[in-house]
């Protein structure tokens, strides 16, 4: 009997059994799907292509600090909201092509391309008002008395008014900077 004819004819099983199958099957499918998607958010997965960049975070405060809180790649580079995350994952399918072509599979190729990659990421974060920074750093709870004079000035004016967003100033907070010539505000 074909799949469609089985699907279109009434079952002998009770409604409760059918509903139970759908309920349990739905949970299993959704769990497996999300588990698979989360597996692509791990540092080990990111390192499989971006090992040189992942290693750089170990020298920064986002990896090691007095409080022991740390960020992994996906905390900053993958949106946390489910729909936005899925869009980013679909977009990342293009990166599989780059992996197959070996676009950054040597240190020389990576160095040549890192400026391009950094600019793309800065632009993405500027477009979403540095949402991935704001997932942890909440402007409303910033204690200016704990900040330096320059930080207070910038945060209370440009950031507060929305003229600037986090990534406009905070570039290279977890990685080494690429060639910065031509980047706005960089001296």
């Amino acid at each position: 009997m074909t799949f469609w004819s089985r699907l279109s004819r009434p079952s002998k099983a009770s409604a409760g059994v059918l509903l139970g199958l759908g309920f349990v099957g739905g949970i299993l499918f959704w769990g497996a799907f999300n588990t698979g998607m989360e597996a692509t958010n791990t540092e080990a997965f990111c390192s499989s292509c971006h090992a040189p960049i992942v290693a750089e975070i170990r020298e920064t405060i986002h990896y090691s600090n007095r409080s022991g809180v740390r960020a992994i790649c996906s905390d900053c580079h993958v949106p946390h909201a489910w729909t936005d995350k899925l869009v980013r994952k679909v977009q990342a399918s293009k990166e599989l092509v780059a992996f197959a072509l070996g676009t950054i599979n040597t240190p020389e190729k990576f160095r040549a391309r890192r400026g391009h990659l950094a600019h793309r990421e800065w632009q993405r974060m500027k477009n979403n008002d540095s949402q991935e920074c704001r997932n942890c750093h909440n402007f409303d709870f910033m204690d200016f008395s704990e900040q330096g004079r320059r930080s207070i000035t910038q945060h209370s004016t440009a950031l507060a008014s929305g003229d600037k967003t986090c990534v406009d100033c905070h570039k290279g907070v977890a990685h080494r900077l690429p060639n910065m010539s031509g980047v706005e505000g960089w001296q």
């Binding site: 799949f3 699907l7 079952s11 002998k12 199958l21 759908g22 499918f29 977009q91 993405r124």
Partner: protein, 44 residues
């Protein structure tokens, strides 16, 4: 990323969601039918 590229990826990304739901439905239906075929529905 250009505006055109952004539109392309957002359309593709949002289109993926119903695709996932449909694939999930078909997958769960196929698994459920197979399970049922082992028992009460075997003689249909």
């Amino acid at each position: 990323m250009s505006t055109l590229e952004s539109i392309f990826w957002h359309v593709l990304g949002y289109a993926t969601m119903p695709f996932i739901f449909i694939v999930g439905y078909i997958g769960v239906a196929a698994a459920a039918l197979w399970l049922l075929s082992l028992g009460v529905d075997k003689d249909i």
